[in-house]
Assembly symmetry: D3
Homo-oligomer: 286 residues x 6
């Protein structure tokens, strides 16, 4: 029985957090290695369902790089790169879209429904949710690599109101009807800004941002946007972490109150961030 008593005491400890976020929107970016473990995936999904049931409105934006690579390999399609970005031709774009919308997104939806939530998927093409355009890097055409022109929040909001957890696949659509491959971190930041979310949580594969990645004790728990930009410039924040930090900055500019980059590999790290005062990951603030 004393175990049971501990349980309910912990529920009571969660109350202030539940109150503070009741009715608020929380955008969660979920991708990378945190998608590979079955247990972690289940933990993430239970977290989302819990948030929904206790009165918050989670919205998920997913990535899917590994699954895309796996199918491209099977099809023996080779990609060229420019500055680390895959040059995406029409055939590759088709594969990207099929995997993201038809596989990764569907799998998340099925799991949410299976564990007792209610989810519906939205690609950027559904209801023109993610209006996009070609992204040029230093004037170089990377094919169907795109950037967000405008998030059309209406379909997302109407799904939230109808009681669903929207699962957004990061495929954009141009005014010409073309598909665009957009970085999922970027989509998450833009969606959070468009929804004026309370929180953006980016689940990633590391514990957060470090002053010196080799020294775990240099984890930065709170990082101002202005300093974050400087760390990008001088290379302390590099490669895959850059779009995550930029997504946080974009969200902050759009009026999102709090943004967090946390370790998605740790089970229930999202709940840890939301329901406890434990220092977890890196909070990016204005």
């Amino acid at each position: 029985m004393s175990l049971e008593i501990d349980k309910v005491n912990l529920l009571i400890e969660a109350l202030p957090y539940i109150k503070a976020l009741s009715g608020k929107t929380i955008v969660v970016k979920y991708g990378g290695h945190a998608m590979e473990s079955k247990e972690i995936k289940k933990a993430v999904i239970l977290d989302l369902i819990l948030l929904k049931y206790v009165g918050m409105n989670p919205v998920i934006v997913h990535g899917g790089g590994p699954e895309i690579n796996s199918l491209l390999e099977k099809l023996e399609i080779k990609s060229e790169y420019h500055k680390g970005l895959r040059i995406t031709d029409k055939e590759t774009m088709d594969i990207v879209q099929m995997v993201l919308v038809g596989k990764v997104g569907q799998e998340l939806i099925t799991l949410i429904n299976h564990y007792g939530g209610k989810a519906i998927g939205l690609s950027g093409k559904d209801g023109n949710t993610l209006l996009s355009r070609k992204k040029l890097i230093e004037g170089v055409d990377l094919g169907f690599v795109g950037e967000i022109e405008k998030v059309n929040a209406e379909p997302i909001i109407s799904m939230i109101k109808a009681g669903y957890i929207p699962v957004i696949s990061p495929v954009g659509v141009g005014l010409d009807g073309e598909s665009y491959n957009i970085n999922a971190d970027v989509v998450a930041g833009e969606v959070a800004a468009a929804l004026k979310a309370e929180k953006l949580i980016v689940l990633t594969d590391v514990e957060g941002i470090f002053d010196n990645p080799n020294k775990p004790e240099t984890l930065i728990t709170a990082l101002q946007a202005i300093r974050a930009r400087r760390l990008i410039e001088n290379g302390v924040i590099a490669s895959g972490m850059i779009p995550k930090v930029e997504a946080c900055i974009k969200a902050l500019e759009g009026g999102v109150a709090r943004t967090h980059i946390i370790d998605g590999r740790q089970a229930h790290s999202m709940l840890l961030e939301i329901f406890t005062d434990a220092g977890i990951g890196t909070m990016v603030v204005n």
Copy 2:
């Protein structure tokens, strides 16, 4: 950190219970010694607020015997009794009403609001919520002791919809406008039936119903209504426990799914009942 991880694991364990009762009404009878301890009172109130925030609709019906006695004593009003029931004259009825509506109810409301909930009080007179009539015991007139004629659920429901926790004081009103003192257990049972609540939880001062009160191991965890009636007849269930059991039976007859008599003296016993599988108190079933 491992403590924090335990916490969120427990939240996840609560999810199935939250899902099952989401949007459901839970009527809670709160009275007796469980009202005397400041800590217990705070625990009960936090429980109610938690239930509201995670999507359930708690409704509280309170008692207040000790406070009534205390004021009657100060005023040197002596009561006569018939078969254990206080004969309630007009002056006494005034005191009863003042204490229940103006003191005990107000205090609960203030505490709920103070700890972050939203409460509004309703006596049976507000909006004619508890239409009542004089109760005759074997033909003897006990003065303003009453019984419920009809619960008018409309004011309770409109408060639930407006986001409040209704706090009901067990003072009835006759068609003639007279006040009636009604047993709070009875009111809770009738209100649960009128609201077609999912659960009625009676917080009391003992651990539950025992086959032999002297032997703790004889706690009855599940009691059928038909057997409960027999235990009342043969005196195993006696005195103050009788109206509690009758309230449960009344609620069951009115379509309430589950009724529980549990130990209000134990902190968060309500959450224990709702959020764990621990055997607690006595469940009365059809």
Copy 3:
């Protein structure tokens, strides 16, 4: 029959007044000796019900001094005074609250319901309607004597919309959950301002404000706020009339169109003010 014809002619005469106030809110302060006579009380209540039925939204704020004194006496609690204000200790505050919320308010509600209206009571604690703070008079601590910090109109408005006549008891609540005894006239003025009422009607025990109280012919029928302030300063308006006039001024500042101090001892004086052109009482204007 000719009597009946007179009747309907008078109804027709009321039509312009009904049209002018249709859908408007009218805050009525009811207290003092006008609460002592059973006939007057019935007349006031019928007036309120009539206003509700012909399409206006009456809100009542009640006092209760005599009933409070009576219970304090019975309990042999003696009060000390500072500048005419009762120093209110915790025990006294409990009595004040019990009498106002649990007796006077409940009685009004019961009468309104009995005569065919629909009423629900609201203390300042219900839904935190009257957020208050300690009132210091020249730096002297009078105990639980309070003043309004903010009227939370939402519970009042939701009751009006649900078809009820709200009956407000002048007990405030502090941020700390403490109870405060607040002058009912002050509450009425603040509530009228918060609701942006069309009218504030203060029912009192005299015919209105006089230039010379000994000369009935000096009744002031219309009094500008600026002049009222001067009359308070030079003592023409004194003692119990001061908070009534200040309530009117507060209401006017909050956007209330008309405020009236009228003789509550005269049956149906409220209807006389609303439905006829007869000069009655003192109108306080900007």
Copy 4:
């Protein structure tokens, strides 16, 4: 002042009647000589506006025989009759419709709006409110004399809900789009039945129905439908009174609670019927 006090006392006397009919629909047939006097017309209109303001839903069905005759005479159109019914050719039907819809109805609407109400006119053609068919009397074709096939209540109800007093002109429309001249009493009875009105009030030119029209003391104050039918058969109820009584019977069959034939020539007779216990006119009951 004592006059003013009488006034408000009379308002209070009206309260029970206001309560009883609050939110209820009252269909009023207005026609005949009661339309000829300017004062009476104003009185009728003020009555309707008052009913609307105090919370009832009046619906007016008007006649217009004298005005029709006047225009027919000016145009030197002569009518033939069969069993007292005008044989209505196409040209006459045009005149009937123009006078009813374009003159009598418009005049009532203008007066209601002028005296502070809100009215909109509806002929039976507007929204196909009065679906009709040719009426054959003993197999004789009377031209465009019609009877109601079905009242389409939707346009009437949507106007009531939008706050208007509907003014219905008794012109029906056939499935073929033809116009039909329908007795206004009949229309009133059918409309009252279709709206499940609380009351049908037929304003006429006599004091009511008499056992012996020459003896005023034989006024029948309450007449059962079954007896009314017998009185029609044996000729005591004759000519223009027949459709009025039949309208009442039709309304009663359709679920209308009370029907009244009263003297429209007496100012405010409608209010007398509604707001006093004075015996006025003849009530037809089931």
Copy 5:
């Protein structure tokens, strides 16, 4: 079959026009000789019904000069004129109103209902839709000739929302309750402005506005308001065309996007204007 294929191809061609005007309000002035032919009338009505069914909100304002003249003649009422405007005495005004509201309007409503639409008529008196005042021409009193003071759009809008096609008869009402005869073109322009319609279409008896009426090839397809005013001043636009052009200018000033003067004698000219790119009539633009 190839005919059928042509049909559906044409439907598809209509799609961009349907999309562009979906949910938009289109005010149509219908009068003059275009009302005399039965076929044309049917065509106009089918056009209105089609517009309603494909998602637009047509509102019709009708004229009725010929029918008025016909009845005046029959009644041997002679009119005097001042500057081409009929001096309208009380008797004439009655005829005007009866014909417009009771005949022409009713006939249009009946036809719309007959062909499968849903129409309700509104004179300017219904719900005080067309508040008007006497119009003085160079200081000369023309009797009940009026001009619009204010269009009260509320009754029109509530009918549109209830699914009806409003049919407006151009009879105004003064603050004094007097009737006013108002030019139907003027009413159409004012109504279009008040509704902030997307389009005003004036159906007239000529093909449009010509630089030289004798040379069909001088049809002005697009006419700027500023030039239109000049053409009125120098007499190129004259007599009956003046109020039509002024109505267009009034509508443009009120925010209407497009105004058109087109040939109502040509079957379905309204649809030609709306659903094709064919140059038809004269478009008046800012």
Copy 6:
């Protein structure tokens, strides 16, 4: 101009069809070779958008066999067959789902949005729309070949209400969260039944059902369900046409009024069926 006049005449001819289907749901199965031609695809999409704009509620269920085969081939996945049904292993099911949801569905949505409609995709997994179970053929396990257990219409209906054209991909979900490959004709029939659609239109690659496929003149224009079943038994209706006919029968049993199997290769055949009386394809009736 005469061409333009023909156009609007044809629009008017469409009016009765528009009226008859206004507000009604039309389920369209789109698949097979009719999806291969770019022009046909555009024609189908314009038809759907037109239906939506003129007030109907089209819902599309798409197939995608050829695209699935193409990807399977590229991946060198070979399928085994049992009685003409592909044995679908896990890897194949993944491909099926990716192609249907992530490619074919997305492409249709993009085209609808591009041509001016508003579409959102729904797989059977989104909101558990298509609850399914394994389908056994004569007890043989075909892997992830499924059949519908229950259509959950709620997500489809909420999208219709929000103004979207739902595009349904025929991928079912089991209670266990497994994916199932379901014949798109079957899904269309079940969805039509669940929505109680007015019409089910199956676009196919032939002109309809023939008594003798070699004789075009033996096209069956109307086929009773009972006869259809006989034709299936005796092999006249065979292979791919069987599920189409069964879908029609299923829909008819579920209360769908009309079902049609028509030639999707003919541009706008859907509009031909809906807006003309031309005999097209085979109507299956009860």
